[in-house]
Amino acid sequence: MTTPLAWKTSRLRRLASVGGSVLTVAGSLLVLLIVTFGLNALSPIDPALAVAGDHASQSTLAQTRRELGLDQPLPVQFLLYLGRLAHGDWGTSRSTGQPVLGDLARALPATLELSTLALLLATGFGVILGLGAASRPGGAIDGISRFLALVGSSIPIFWLGLVLMALFYARLHWLGGPGRLDGVFQYTVPLTTGFLLIDSIRSGQEGAVANAVSHLALPVLVLMLHALAKISRLTRSSALEELSKEYVTFARSKGVNQRRILFYHVVPNIRGAIITTTALAYVELLEGAVLTETIFAWPGLGRYLATALFAADSPAILGATLVLGAAFILINAAVDALVQLLDPRAK
């Protein structure tokens, strides 16, 4: 029987543990910001020059430096940034001249839409191909999976993107080209959520959804192939390892068919590894889609961060790093929870 006191202690303990997690997350983000700020301070680029340009007069340059707060010592600059951040002010990007929060609110949905779709498809195909390949190593599916993994991991993404675009967009006219929509729709579909699939449905315009899908198809395909390589190869090797275990041989000897063995015995045992790989692939897609976003004229987070880096635009770099760091922590937490939930031993 639980006494009221014991109940209280357990609640306190839980609260303390939640509080501890929040502190850990905040601490990790702070360290991330400090490191990013420090690295940016080492950059050989003069941020004031990146704003005022090469022709500006000394007095303009000095004024720009003052306006950007660059005349303050570095620790002061950082503390001022933190103070503003605590009040919800993420600062103004020097390369776009716009509030960083607004820039991120535009760039993040574009990237999320692309990478989430790519990840879902990559996971679906990757797991099926991996299992298929493991169930008959050296077979046709193994061959296909190996070929796709080779394409996804070894062909440079910008080259693959351009070749696919030259074929499906320029030659065959099957799919949309660079940009998120054709010019006809681009300025008639209002961006409310930032996710074009949702916005184009909401706009109710004829053909807008099909157009959005046709523009998504190629960048999603390119990113999917990249993620697919990892997921399918990992699924294959984990499944092969499981298939060689004694309990599988035992199940086989009892006449259980291959499909049942795979889905009822192997998958539950390897799903932890698959989920972890998938989560890592997701983080990589979120931050690493720069080249894909450049080729496909996709105004996403990767491209935003890349241009900010070239201008030593610290508010934009810190803002984007914060979002990516938070996404990384969130995804990791979600994976931990999911793995624990699915692991019968944890119950």
Binding site: L49, T64, T96, R106, G124, G177
Partner: protein, 524 residues
């Protein structure tokens, strides 16, 4: 396997849904990178994208004739008169001229715009500073004469023809004071709002600007410049040149900028596409840092002279730049009044060797900071090989653009290949940058090269003060000759801007200076 079939069917359905695209009628879609844009406020914007927009959104008192840039024609001013002392101009405003908001254009707007541009002191402010206008004194030089006219005077020793040229620069754009003032926030003179909006009287207004995505301009039918034929112009941000090429080839863009020489070669002669080659005022030059603390050889004029004979001008222009540049060896670009168009230098290794030997220069080693992108990286490799033929070792140090500029501006480089675009359509713009450094007080390009040249500085001052345009042109000819003969600058190429257009696009005009882009006459 079923999923594969399902995916293929899905892809095929899409194929049917997607048709060959054509841009909407009366809308010009331009594919270019707009990631350089910092601000669409004419008092601040100084990037290619913003500067190319200002002529379409704002008017100035006077403008260069789009078809003949050396001629100054009325814009918001109907006429002007030179003051008796030669140090002031009185402009009479065009009757009935109004801003896109409907507000009339008044002398107060002229005074507000010019005073605001000087006081904000943003990137292009130095252009107006050359009239002697500063934040403290500018208001005393701008006077409302009557309800329709305004008098501008200037303390600097410069002639009226120079002042008129300078007033064609984007920073001299006239903004609508009433509208701008209504958007002022904490004393910013409306700068925050104007970064993404417009308050002018040009042929277009800014409909929307989304950084890294698009700039949309809508027609302003009430413009004193006349109503444009198009309804809208859409600048789509396409950062990758190969993607820009695909878009214009497919008809999803009507105009594409900044394609590589090979891409232009592939598009030339294709049905439905035309390539417009426009002489540009952009010049590529080699800069040597005579004030380098790491390389004392660089202050030796004999080295400057020898290196002039070690550039394979023709080879680079014909093989690397393929139609995107021509050889030009003076600091005023061909097309500017007074430009020196003879090119006295050729690759001559023997001559270079003898100059080096005479000066006792051996084992010369120079670090070259260079942009890590073509054509600069290609030019750098060519220089490395030709310099080596005379025993000069060139260490290439590639870096991104902003990093190279940071080094140049802090004089922590040895040599570099840079490009230069004049700030306004007058010879003084370049003379002031390259042939003026009396005492290291102004950090212009001559200072960055560590080059003190009091004698040429006097000549530059005299040229800008000269009233007679023909005499002025002659004076600039002599200054260019001096810079060509002995200076730490080696002018090598003048760019040709190749703009790719769909064949149905008519009436697009682009001039020699960076800001001279006109969409008003375009039809399709």
């Amino acid at each position: 396997m079923h999923k594969f079939i399902a995916f293929s069917v899905f892809a095929l359905t899409l194929g049917v849904a997607a048709t060959f695209a054509v841009t909407p009628p009366k809308v010009l879609v331009v594919a270019q990178s707009i990631e350089d844009a910092v601000s669409f406020d004419p008092a601040e914007g100084y990037e290619l994208t913003t500067v190319q927009t200002f002529n379409n959104v704002y008017q100035r008192l006077v403008q260069s004739n789009p078809n003949n840039p050396t001629q100054i024609v009325p814009a918001l001013a109907a006429s002007w008169k030179l003051g008796a002392d030669g140090k002031s101009l009185t402009f009479t405003l065009k009757t009935g001229a109004a801003f896109a908001s409907g507000n009339p254009v008044r002398p107060e707007d002229v005074i507000f715009s010019l005073s605001r541009a000087v006081k904000l002191n943003k990137a292009p402010a130095f252009i107006l500073n050359s009239l002697g206008w500063t934040a403290d004194n500018v208001d005393s030089f701008l006077v409302r004469t009557d309800a329709k006219s305004v008098t501008l005077s200037w303390p600097a020793k410069v002639g009226a023809s120079f002042v008129l040229n300078l007033l064609t620069a984007p920073i001299a754009s006239i903004v609508d004071q009433v509208t701008v003032a209504s958007h002022e926030q904490s004393g910013d003179q409306g700068n925050g709002w104007l970064k993404t909006a417009s308050a002018g009287s040009g042929s277009f207004v800014i409909h929307s600007y989304v950084p890294h995505d698009s700039l949309v301009l809508d027609a302003n039918p009430k413009s004193p410049a006349g109503a444009p034929i198009l309804q809208s112009v859409i600048l789509r941000n396409v950062a990758d040149p190969a993607s820009r090429r695909l878009l214009v080839e497919q008809g999803d863009a009507d105009l594409a900028r900044d394609l590589g020489a090979d891409q232009i070669a592939a598009l030339n002669g294709k049905a439905g596409i035309s390539v417009l080659a426009v002489a540009s005022a952009q010049q590529d030059y080699i800069i040597l840092n005579a004030a380098s603390t790491t390389n004392p050889d660089l202050k030796n004029p004999a080295l400057w002279q020898a290196l002039r004979y070690l550039v394979d001008y023709d080879g680079i222009a014909n093989k690397l730049l393929k139609g995107q540049a021509k050889v030009h060896q003076a600091f005023l670009p061909d097309g500017f009044p007074g430009a020196l168009n003879d090119n006295p230098f050729k690759l001559d290794v023997t001559k270079a060797k003898s100059i080096l030997a005479k000066a006792g220069l051996t084992n010369v080693r120079i670090a070259l900071s260079v942009f890590n992108q073509p054509p600069f990286s290609d030019i750098a490799q060519s220089l490395q090989s030709t310099f080596a033929q005379a025993g000069v070792t060139l260490d290439l140090q590639p870096a991104i653009t902003s990093e190279v500029y940071s080094k140049i501006r802090s004089r922590t480089y040895e040599a570099s290949i840079l490009y230069w675009i004049p700030d306004y359509f007058d010879a003084h713009s370049n003379a002031q940058a390259f042939a003026f450094n009396r005492d290291d007080s102004v950090h212009n390009v001559a200072w960055r090269a560590g080059w003190l040249t009091p004698e040429l500085s006097d000549k530059t001052d005299a040229a800008v003060a000269e009233k007679d345009p023909a005499v002025r042109a002659k004076l600039y000819g002599a200054i260019q000759k001096s810079v060509q003969e002995s200076s730490p600058f080696i002018f090598a190429f003048q760019a040709t801007d190749q703009v790719v257009l769909r064949s149905n696009v008519k009436g697009y005009i682009q001039g020699i200076n960076a800001d001279q882009v006109y969409f008003a006459g375009v039809s399709k």
